[in-house]
C-alpha cells in the first residue's frame, strides 16, 4: 500500500485527539503548552526515528531505554561528578553509542543471534552498568551547565510570545536527514529492500550485513542523542528508572506511524506523527479534568486501539465501495 495512505489514519486520529482536547481544555492551546508538547514530541521523536530504521530492516531494538539511561546518567556524571570537559564527554559518548550499535549489529549479523535476544540482554546490561557507574546515585547538573542545557530548554522566540524549543529544531534536522537518507539514497533503498527480502537483496550483490549493522548504529546513536537531550531537559537522572520503558514508547510510535514489524515499511513523517499522538494523549489526560490521571494508560491504550480499529474498518469500507462501483460499470 501507498505509505502515505498508511499514515492518513494516524494523522486523522491525531487531529481528532487535538480537537477534542482543545475543546475540553482551554489551556491546551496556550503557547506554553504547545511549546511543551513540541519539546516532548521532539525528544521522544528522536528515539522513534532511530528505532524505525531497525524496524524497517525487520529487526527490533529493545536497548533504547537503557541507552537513554546510560547516556543520561553518563553525561552529568562525566561533567558534574568527574569534572571532565565537554568535548571529552561528548567524544566518549559518541564512541560508546557507536560502539554499542556496532556490537548489536555484529552479534545479529555475524553470529546470527535474534535481535530480540541481543537487545533484551543489552537492555538489562546497560541499565546495570549505569547503576554500577553511578553507585545508584542520582546524577545531575545542579545549577551549572546552563549554557549546555539551552540545547534542551531554550526556545527560539517567534512572534506572539511563542517560541520554538531547540529540541524541535534538532528533531527537524534529524528527521530531514533521516527522510532523505531513507527515501533518496541508495542506502535507504537497501534498508527497505533487505527488510522485505534479505536474501533477494543479498543476491543483488548488496552487503546486507553492513546495512543491518548500520541500522543498529543509527538507532543507538539517536538513542544516545535522545538520552543527552532528556537529561539536559530534566536536569538529573536516576539510573534505576531513567528512560525506563522508553523503548516501548519508541517502538509503539514507530509502529503507529506505519512501520511494520515484519520489516520493509515505514516513513519518517509517520513516526513523528505517531510520537506526537502519544504525547498529546498524555497531555490531554493531565489537562482534561474529567479524566482521572491514574487511568492514563487505559485512555492511551483505548484511544490508540480504537483509532487503529476505526482506520482498518474505514479502509475496508472504502475498498468494498470501490469494488462495488467497479462491478457495476
Amino acid at each position: 500500500m501507498n505509505p502515505m495512505k498508511k499514515i492518513l489514519g494516524i494523522s486523522g486520529l491525531l487531529l481528532f485527539v487535538v480537537i477534542v482536547t482543545a475543546m475540553a481544555a482551554d489551556s491546551f492551546t496556550t503557547a506554553y503548552n504547545i511549546e511543551n508538547l513540541i519539546r516532548r514530541t521532539a525528544l521522544f521523536g528522536i528515539l522513534s526515528i532511530g528505532v524505525a530504521f531497525v524496524i524497517i530492516t525487520g529487526g527490533i531494538d529493545l536497548s533504547i531505554g537503557s541507552i537513554v539511561c546510560l547516556v543520561g546518567c553518563g553525561l552529568p556524571w562525566m561533567l558534574a561528578v568527574k569534572g571532565w570537559s565537554l568535548p571529552v564527554a561528548l567524544l566518549i559518548i559518541g564512541v560508546v553509542v557507536v560502539g554499542l550499535g556496532l556490537i548489536h549489529g555484529l552479534l545479529i549479523t555475524k553470529l546470527r543471534l535474534q535481535p530480540f535476544v541481543v537487545t533484551l540482554c543489552a537492555l538489562l546490561l546497560y541499565r546495570g552498568l549505569a547503576r554500577g557507574l553511578t553507585g545508584d546515585q542520582t546524577v545531575g547538573f545542579g545549577t551549572n551547565f546552563t549554557g549546555l542545557r539551552t540545547l534542551a530548554t531554550y526556545k527560539i522566540p517567534l512572534i506572539g510570545g511563542f517560541g520554538v524549543p531547540v529540541p524541535c529544531v534538532i528533531l527537524v534536522v534529524v528527521a530531514v536527514i533521516a527522510a532523505i537518507f531513507l527515501n533518496r539514497t541508495i542506502y535507504g533503498r537497501y534498508l527497505l529492500a533487505l527488510g522485505n527480502n534479505e536474501q533477494a537483496t543479498r543476491f543483488s550483490g548488496i552487503n546486507t550485513d553492513r546495512m543491518t549493522v548500520l541500522a543498529y548504529v543509527i538507532s543507538a546513536v539517536l538513542a544516545g542523542l535522545g538520552g543527552m537531550l532528556f537529561v539536559l531537559d530534566v536536569n538529573s537522572a536516576q539510573p534505576v528508572d531513567f528512560g525506563n520503558f522508553y523503548e516501548l514508547y519508541a517502538i509503539a510510535a514507530a509502529v503507529l506511524g506505519g512501520c511494520s514489524l515484519r520489516g520493509g515499511e515505514g516513513t519518517i513523517v509517520g513516526v513523528i506523527i505517531g510520537t506526537a499522538l502519544m504525547q498529546v494523549l498524555r497531555n490531554m489526560i493531565t489537562l482534561v479534568d474529567a479524566i482521572p490521571t491514574h487511568i492514563e494508560f487505559a485512555v492511551i491504550g483505548a484511544v490508540i486501539l480504537g483509532g487503529v480499529i476505526a482506520d482498518e474498518l474505514v479502509k475496508r469500507y472504502a475498498a468494498r465501495k470501490r469494488a462495488e462501483r467497479q462491478a457495476h460499470h
Binding site: 545542579g142 538529573s236 534505576v240
Partner: protein, 327 residues
C-alpha cells in the same frame, strides 16, 4: 526445616573466619532511591561501629521482588534483617517468616502486626503536616496548591499527602482519613487542586508540572512529596520563568532542593533521617544479637523525627550530609 535454622552459626559457615564473628545484617529498602543511598551510608557506618557485616539491598521491582529478596535472605542465613515493607498490611506472613529465622526490625515504614522487634522511623503523617506548615508559611494568604508524588498507593505517600492536606486546610489530624486522588479539598483559604503521580518517570514528573502550569496559570504553591519531585518542580518553573513566583515546598534532601532553599526559591523542605534509620537499625540488631534486649523500648518505636530545613539551617545540614556520604 530449612538449614538456616540457627542464624548465628550458618552465617559463619560459608565465610572465612575473620568475618565469622561478625553477624551478618542486611537492610532491605522498598525500592531504589538516593534516599536509600544515604541510608546505606548509615548502615555501613553502623557496620563499622558495631562490628557487623552490614549491607543494603534495594529491590528494583516492587512487592514481589522484595518478597523474593527476603526469601533469599532466609536462605542465606542472615542474622539480622531490617526492612522497609512496601505493603505492611499484607506482608505479615513473609515478615514473620523472616522473624522466625533472623532478628527483624522495620524501618521507615512499619508493620505493626508482624513479629518485628521494633520500628525505627518517623510518622509520615506528621511529616506531611510539617510540610503543610511550611506551605502556610510560604503562602500566608492562602492559594491554590498542587501535590506531586511518584505514586499514591504506598503508605508513606498516602500518609504524607494526607497529613499535608489535613494541616493545610485546617482539619483535625486523623491519620486514617483518606481523600481520593481526584479530590479537591479546600479550607482556610487553601485549595488543593489535585495530586499528580508519575510512576518514578522523571520526564513525566516534569511534564506533570508543566501541564499544571498550562492548566492553572494562577497556581500559588506546589509540593513534591518524593525526593525527586521538588527538583522536577524547580526545573519546570525555571524553564517557564516562574521560579520564585510559585511557592515550592520540598520533601527530602535532593541537592537541587537544598540549592533551591539556598537560592530562596524554595522556602523549606521536610527531611527524614535515612542515615539514622540505617545506623540505628544496625545498632539495634547487633545489640539484640549480642543478647542486649534492653535496647528495645516498651512501645517498640524508636523515633527518628523529621525536621524542617529552611534557609537558616540548610548550609549546616548540607555539610553534614556531604560528610556522611563521603563526598
Amino acid at each position: 526445616k530449612p538449614s538456616a535454622d540457627s542464624s548465628a552459626n550458618s552465617s559463619g559457615s560459608s565465610n572465612a573466619s575473620a568475618s565469622a564473628k561478625k553477624p551478618k545484617i542486611v537492610f532491605v529498602s522498598n525500592g531504589v532511591d538516593p534516599f536509600w543511598v544515604i541510608c546505606q551510608a548509615g548502615v555501613e557506618q553502623g557496620g563499622k561501629d558495631f562490628n557487623a557485616d552490614a549491607s543494603m539491598i534495594m529491590p528494583a521491582e516492587g512487592l514481589a521482588d522484595q518478597k523474593r529478596i527476603l526469601e533469599d535472605l532466609i536462605t542465606k542465613g542472615t542474622a539480622g534483617v531490617a526492612v522497609s515493607p512496601i505493603d505492611p498490611a499484607n506482608q505479615t506472613e513473609i515478615l514473620n517468616k523472616v522473624a522466625e529465622y533472623s532478628k527483624l526490625v522495620t524501618a521507615d515504614s512499619d508493620a505493626p502486626d508482624s513479629k518485628r522487634l521494633v520500628y525505627i522511623g518517623m510518622s509520615n503523617y506528621e511529616a506531611g503536616r510539617m510540610a503543610a506548615q511550611l506551605m502556610k508559611e510560604a503562602l500566608p494568604n492562602g492559594g491554590d496548591v498542587m501535590i506531586f508524588v511518584g505514586r499514591l498507593e504506598q503508605d508513606n505517600a498516602k500518609l504524607r499527602r494526607q497529613g499535608f492536606i489535613d494541616e493545610l486546610i485546617g482539619r483535625t489530624p486523623d491519620p486514617t482519613r483518606f481523600d481520593p486522588p481526584t479530590a479537591n479539598p479546600s479550607g482556610n483559604g487553601y485549595q488543593v487542586l489535585g495530586t499528580l503521580t508519575d510512576q518514578f518517570d522523571r520526564a513525566k514528573a516534569k511534564a506533570n508540572v508543566e501541564d499544571t502550569l498550562s492548566k492553572h496559570p494562577n497556581i500559588a504553591g506546589m509540593i513534591g512529596l518524593f525526593a525527586y519531585n521538588p527538583p522536577a518542580i524547580l526545573e519546570a518553573l525555571k524553564q517557564s520563568g516562574k521560579a520564585g513566583k510559585v511557592q515550592v515546598i520540598g520533601f527530602d534532601e535532593n541537592d537541587a532542593t537544598l540549592k533551591g532553599i539556598q537560592d530562596g526559591i524554595v522556602l523549606g523542605t521536610v527531611v527524614q533521617n535515612p542515615y539514622e534509620y540505617g545506623y540505628q537499625a544496625v545498632k539495634v540488631l547487633t545489640e539484640v544479637l549480642a543478647g542486649k534486649t534492653n535496647v528495645i523500648p516498651a512501645n517498640k518505636y524508636i523515633e527518628v523525627p523529621a525536621r524542617k530545613i529552611r534557609k537558616d539551617t540548610v548550609d549546616q545540614f548540607w555539610d553534614e550530609l556531604k560528610k556522611r556520604l563521603g563526598k
